[in-house]
Amino acid sequence: MSECITLAALLALLCTAFLLVCVFAAGQPGIAGLWDLAMIGGYSAVFALFQMFFLTGRPLDRPLYEGRFFLRLHEYTAYLILLLVIAHVIGSLWAEPLLWRDIWPPVLPVMQTGVLASLLLATLAVVSQPRWKLAVFRNARIFRYCHYGLAAALLCATGLHAWQADFRMAAPALTFSLIGMSALALAVPLLVRALPVQARRGEKRLRNTSGLAMPVVVTLGCIGLLVPILCAMWLDR
């Protein structure tokens, strides 16, 4: 249990730091409460997406929980991203209904990359369901390749969407950080597979720990919503 709390605290800390840098590093002012909330909420989704490339569902050395815990963590984080993206889309359309007209090309490229990312996310969410997974992909290997390919495309489209918004990411240092983090996130799952597996010394993974994935994701979700609310209130005070 203590390892679960440590993991949740670490993710919450990283998410908070990521959001604070995204919001304040470029020195941009607040626009309007709901708009800022929706936009910063979008960065929460970006953080959760980055996190999924590091917690890919493969068991890690620590915490020494059963494999299903890591699978659940990956799965629930995906649902959290879906929720955050829905909040991002509804919030921004609520604050500015005319954005609806910019979805169709060629008015605003930023909107089209956003739509593309949303479609990729929806596709990933559907084809990764156990029932669909068996129907669409012939075996686990094909699924793994296609899942990684689609997720990589999603990460690129999301990064491009955040960069094209050209507001809170306007500083060159932030743009390069975003590119660097995206490249690192894309490389990590490939590197992890390439590295040799280390033999464990008599330690056994704890059973019946998959349920602990939920509190970790709930903590991340709370931070992912609470920090944007506080930042929006601070910017528009």
Partner: protein, 128 residues
């Protein structure tokens, strides 16, 4: 197994191609349709901008070659000049929003930033 591997790589390549094509189409601004796209309604009041130098926007006053240009209305000129038509949205947003943002960052009264409906509304009758 080798066949599966090839299929996976092909699937990833197709997905990457589709995404890459989509992104290229999106980023390039699909110039072939930009000129024919109708503009959104736009409202602009000179009264609200009376404190600023006219030449900030009316650059044609200082460029002699534009004096005899067939289109003297801002939007008309930018929309009908083939080189400017594909970038009209970006140019006007940078011009207006950039100035508003600069004032907002200086904590001065400013026009809207990212609030589309404030500028993109049916033109109001002039107030002067």
């Amino acid at each position: 197994m080798r066949r599966n591997g090839r299929l996976s790589i092909a699937a990833v390549c197709v997905a990457a191609g589709l995404v890459g094509g989509g992104i290229w189409w999106s980023v390039s601004g699909a110039p072939h349709t930009a000129q024919s796209l109708p503009l959104m309604p736009l409202t602009f009041t000179h009264q609200d901008h009376g404190a600023f130098n006219c030449l900030v926007c009316h650059h044609n006053y200082t460029e002699p070659k534009l004096a005899s240009w067939p289109f003297q209305h801002c939007i008309e000129c930018h929309k009908k000049t083939p080189e400017l038509a594909p970038i009209i949205e970006r140019q006007f947003h940078q011009q207006c929003e950039g100035c508003h943002l600069k004032l907002k960052r200086e904590k001065r009264a400013s026009g809207p930033v990212r609030a589309c409906h404030v500028c993109h509304a049916e033109e109001r009758p002039p107030r002067f």
